[in-house]
């Protein structure tokens, strides 16, 4: 176990800086530059987790973001722990503490492993089929399934880290820092374009940078040396920004891209303090160059998932870049030339390469010749049929392939190994291309989907292996040629470039390798993360699933956190083979952003806590805070809800406030109501068209209540509008409706009635509104504005006066939302708190009581006044609200008028607003409770629901408003409100409970 598999030859790992870390509690060492995966492998640890469904032991399989198995939990701090981190991506830092996920009680002994032996009974769709029946049992199954499944543990405390968002604009964005990305960035920067190059690794150069093979030369030097010089030369461009550790998450239309930059995840915990953890870049690029590369495919054969089975190119990276041997007796299994490069690298590093199993009959490429000259043994035309070893591969068995590749022939021969490299060819990373709207085409010759140049959105290009170019000479030459036209370049620094590289010619591809056993007896894994096998895909096809999207969901192939980066092509290939379809016709599944998972922190950035949404406070807010107000959120506004005194609860406070307002005087901060200043010679005509009632005859100085409908005839908003002058009105709207009402009015003015001379200005924030109501309101106003004649003659209900309070201009409206004699002072907001305090002082002798929204709602309910949005829900007409009086029947037109006599709106059995009294006057109904007539009926008919409900201290009984089918005709009828543990008897009444004659308005 505790072996050191590090060799001393590499240039990329800082072997002078030792880093200690923990894995599953075991203290281990690695070096600066390691990933967790490379450090584990150097310690001879392959087994890192268990598979999702069968709990099979799984090991590190790749070296990048496509890793399906090596998914770990980082840390165990309740707020900082990070689940589902790929060991192949996380950089090693001092004190890193990682543990396996998806295993219980431990990775070496896992109870769920029993699923592996049950696997014949756990086919595709097993969960769908089994746990759906009987329905009531789901809760019992769920406990067991959730306990034994699950991908990591979410943190239980809030995230203390800081995340950032930043916008960026550039001429050219290059995604990917491999050879084609480096060349693209240089060409763009050389032309003088503002260029950003992003790469998800800590180093640039992709796989070429550690390609030390003599067979690859550019301008007569080794390709890795040439590329290192190119990377060095990028420093000369001040117009080029390079972002390492930055991965592109999404590529949206109009070249809008999201990229996540990791700033501290590679640092030790102490070094992170006070720094931004991740930054989400929102980049708008004039042109985008995708150079996202390709990933190697696995091969699909029985038991191809054992720890120690690794992609061949990853083995090469571990040895060449990290200096880590993934085993000491390695064999390779391939269908193409690239495994031979791995073989050569291993051989040169002194690692035993036992055999290379190649499904092809031969290959005469330079790289294969080189391998053969070094003495590597190749088994041509052969396939691996099975592997052995539970927690680590021990051996594998090989058979000869038949000429057509459909069968195996001869006998099994067994080879011992501690690591098997597999190479199934290459898949271009076209995710970003398709996210941006590009369409793919299928290239039969090597079975790849590549960008269709005729279906590529404008101002973007794919270069290098993500464009299906895999040979060094193709990559380099095509990148130069394509960028010449894409960036309008004439001469470039790369003109006349010379490339030498091996040329692969021999091709053979078999999606599902044949076996001497029937498929039912084999376990050829396709999706390693979700444990779906080739068998499952075939079963899905037998059961009638045809579309790739359906097969994907039924078998869960490609639905893990890796989004099937390794598995999708084989799933498609097997479907195509089984159904006799061409893969190009089959198409691919949809690649959705993000390309790799994003943290929630990066998504929300700084928009947390008080920055999550704007908070609007009135100019009097500080007074409310000082006076013990409890606040209610109304849209973005903070409104005083009630003002508890001496330990009162909400009910007690609201009862006291409501009583005081009617007995003497109450004061309310009504500043949040929307206020729209309306001016223009057609202002009256405009109001005629937007409100249901008539406005032309409203005298200057008078106020009127108006109801606004949608074009469908449903009540939309309401409020009082005051005529300030011949061509000047001020409209009030509900608090929540203010912005939408303004937008709607602007819409009609600009698009339907551009001929009207009307100007709208929102003045909600500019004016504050203080409402004083109650029998003593008049006495209080007299004290504040001594010269003002408050007689009903001079200042009647529904009128306003311009006046001054302490030399400050203000408007006082005599309007009432409580049914009491009341005044609303409108004053510039910067004076509002002073005036409020003046009112409080003047009102002291009258027990002037500040009240909040709850008391306001109670008082208006006593009067049967509606609150749009509470008593209405967008399905009620004025008539449904028993407000037919407000319809200007003689008016030619207004918004919503025609809809008021559609066949549906004139139905008499619509839900209509009524009042409700409970049989027991102490019983307060729940808002939202249903109303029924016959409790024994089945199915029981719901006649309506309670919209507002309060205990009225002024009437000393419970009151409610409700909408009820045919409610207008049902006055006096008894209904039932069925609750969980009792049925409440109610009686339908008029909507006005208090002062039906409106005597108090002028009291």
């Amino acid at each position: 176990m505790s072996k050191n598999l590090r060799i001393n030859k590499n240039n990329f790992i800082d072997q002078t800086t030792r880093i200690s870390f923990k894995f599953n509690g075991q203290k281990l060492f690695g070096y600066k530059g390691d990933t967790l995966a490379s450090a584990l492998l150097a310690n001879n640890i392959h087994l890192v987790g268990r598979s999702f469904k069968y709990h099979r032991p799984r090991g590190i399989m790749t070296c990048g973001s496509e890793e399906p198995n090596a998914i770990v939990q980082i840390g165990n701090d309740a707020s900082l722990t990070d689940p589902n981190v790929r060991a192949t991506e996380i950089e090693l830092y001092e004190g890193l503490d990682a543990s396996s996920q998806n295993c219980w009680p431990s990775v070496n002994f896992d109870i769920g492993g029993i699923n592996n032996f049950l696997s014949p009974f756990l086919p595709a769709g097993f969960y769908y089929k089994t746990f759906m029946w009987p329905a009531g049992f789901w809760e019992k199954y769920e406990y067991f399934i959730r306990h034994s499944a699950g991908l990591g543990k979410a943190p239980t405390r809030s995230d203390p880290d800081i995340y950032d968002h930043q916008y960026s604009h550039c001429d050219v964005l290059v995604v990917g820092g491999g050879i084609s990305g480096i060349m693209s960035a240089k060409l763009s920067a050389e032309k003088g374009l503002d260029t950003i190059l992003i790469d998800d690794k800590s180093f640039l150069g992709g796989s070429t940078i550690y390609q030390e093979n003599e067979s690859y030369k550019i301008n007569n030097i080794n390709s890795n040396k040439w590329l290192a010089n190119e990377i060095e030369s990028l420093k000369n461009y001040s117009n080029l920004v390079i972002k390492n550790r930055t991965s592109l998450a999404a590529f949206h239309g109009y070249n809008y891209l999201l990229a996540r930059e990791n700033l501290t995840d590679h640092l030790s915990i102490n070094e992170r303090k006070g720094k931004v953890r991740q930054r989400l870049w929102k980049i708008r690029a004039k042109k985008v160059i995708i150079a996202s590369g390709s990933i190697e495919r696995p091969l699909i054969f029985s038991n191809n998932d054992r720890p120690g089975i690794i992609l061949s190119s990853s083995i090469k990276k571990y040895i060449d870049y990290y200096g880590v041997k993934t085993g000491e007796n390695i064999s390779l299994f391939t269908n193409n030339d690239s495994a031979y490069e791995t073989g050569i690298s291993l051989y040169k590093s002194g690692v035993k390469v036992n055999v290379i199993v190649d499904i092809r009959k031969n290959s005469d490429s330079l790289i294969v010749k080189e391998a053969l000259e070094l003495g590597l043994k190749v088994l041509w035309g052969s396939t691996v049929v099975d592997t052995q070893g539970y927690k680590r591969i021990k051996s594998f068995e090989v058979m000869k392939l038949s000429d057509d590749g459909n069968n195996v022939v001869g006998d099994r021969s067994k080879y011992n190994c501690d690591c098997l490299g597999i190479s199934g060819g290459w898949t271009p990373m076209v995710h970003l291309f398709t996210q941006s709207g590009g369409k793919l085409k299928f290239r039969n010759e090597d079975n790849v989907f590549i960008p269709d140049e005729n279906k590529t959105p404008s101002n973007q290009i794919s270069v290098g292996s993500c464009n299906g170019e895999f040979k060094l000479n193709e990559i380099v030459i095509n990148t130069i040629e394509n960028l010449k036209s894409f960036l309008s370049l004439s001469n470039t620094c790369y003109d006349g470039i010379k490339i030498i590289c091996p040329n692969e010619k021999s091709k053979r591809n078999i999606w599902l390798l044949p076996s001497d056993k029937p498929i039912g007896k084999t376990k050829p894994f396709l999706d390693f993360q979700n444990d779906s096998t080739a068998k499952d895909v075939k079963l899905a096809l037998r059961e009638g699933f045809k579309s790739i999207e359906h097969v994907k969901r039924y078998t869960t192939t490609g639905m893990g956190t890796d989004q099937g980066k390794l598995s999708n092509m084989h799933a498609l290939g097997i479907i195509a083979d089984t159904t006799g379809t061409n893969m190009g016709e089959l198409g691919t599944t949809t690649f959705r952003p993000p390309y790799t998972p994003l943290t929630f922190g990066a998504i929300v950035g700084r928009n947390v806590g008080e920055f999550f949404d704007q908070t609007r406070k009135t100019a009097i807010h500080n007074w409310h805070v000082k006076n013990n107000a409890e606040f209610e959120n109304v849209g973005q506004w903070k409104r005083p809800w009630y003002f508890p005194k001496d330990g009162e609860n909400m009910h007690q406070a609201v009862q006291r406030e409501s009583k005081a307002a009617r007995d003497s005087a109450g004061i309310l901060d009504a500043s949040t109501l929307g206020k729209i200043d309306i001016q223009g010679t057609d202002a009256s005509e405009f109001l005629n068209r937007v409100y249901t009632n008539a406005w032309s005859k409203l005298e200057i100085g008078r106020c009127r209540y108006g109801l606004m409908l949608n074009e469908d005839g449903m009540v939309y908003d309401d409020g009082v509008t005051t005529r300030l002058g011949e061509n000047h009105y001020i409209m009030t709207t509900t608090t929540g409706g203010a912005a939408n009402v303004l937008s709607k009015l602007e819409d009609y003015l600009q698009t339907e009635w551009p001929e009207l001379d009307v100007y709208l200005t929102t003045v909600t924030d500019q004016y504050s509104t203080i409402s004083i109501c109650g029998p003593n309101s008049k006495n209080i106003i007299t004290k504040i504005v001594p010269g003002l004649d408050l007689s009903d003659n001079n200042f009647p209900h529904m009128s306003f006066k311009n006046t001054k309070i302490s030399n400050v201009n203000c408007r006082i409206m005599r309007i009432s939302f409580t049914g009491e004699h009341s005044y609303e002072i409108n004053i510039q907001s910067n004076y509002a708190e002073d005036v409020w305090i003046k009112c409080m002082e003047a009102g002291k002798e009258f027990n002037l009581t500040p009240y909040g929204t709850e008391t306001m709602h109670l008082l208006r309910a006593e009067k049967g006044f509606i609150i749009t949005g509470q008593d209405t829900d967008g399905t009620l007409t004025p008539s449904d609200l028993q407000m037919d009086w407000i319809i200007g029947k003689k008016k030619f037109d207004f918004i919503g008028k025609r809809s008021l006599y559609r066949s549906d709106t004139i139905r008499e059995d619509r839900k209509q607003l009524v009042g409700l009294l409970t049989e027991d006057p102490k019983e307060v109904l729940e808002e939202g409770a249903q109303l029924v007539e016959n409790i024994n009926e089945k199915p029981i008919e719901m006649l309506g629901h309670v919209t507002s409900s309060y205990f009225s201290p002024n009437l000393n009984k419970s009151i409610a408003l409700a909408v009820v089918k045919s409610g207008k005709k049902l006055k006096g009828k008894k209904l039932i409100v069925p609750m969980e543990n009792k049925n409440i008897n109610v009686i339908i009444t008029d909507t006005v409970f208090y002062d039906k004659e409106n005597k108090r308005l002028n009291a």
Partner: protein, 91 residues
């Protein structure tokens, strides 16, 4: 995320705009003369085309002007923007 060329302000990010649905649906001048079906046609029926669609947009977090847009919904290409009351520049 589109870049929209407001006819009054110039190119701005889509987040500044809100879409107001299909364009060129004029509010009937004489609603009272319409049958229920005709009124319902105006009120409820909207096209949802894969291809060239005419839409109303509002520069809500900018100049607050409404204008029209011709957009190909199959690839989100904005083919034209023009002011309210103007004839569409493309068919």
């Amino acid at each position: 995320m589109f870049i929209i060329n407001c006819p009054y302000c110039g190119e701005r990010d889509q987040t500044e705009f809100s879409c107001g649905g299909e364009a060129h649906i004029e509010r009937p001048k004489q609603p009272t003369e319409l049958s229920d079906d005709q009124w319902a046609e105006y009120l409820f029926m909207r096209k949802n085309i894969k291809g060239i669609q005419f839409e109303r947009w509002n520069h809500a977090h900018g100049c607050r002007k409404w204008f029209n847009m011709v957009r190909d919904t199959s690839n989100d290409k904005i083919q034209a923007v023009y002011k309210m009351g103007e004839k569409p520049p493309v068919k």
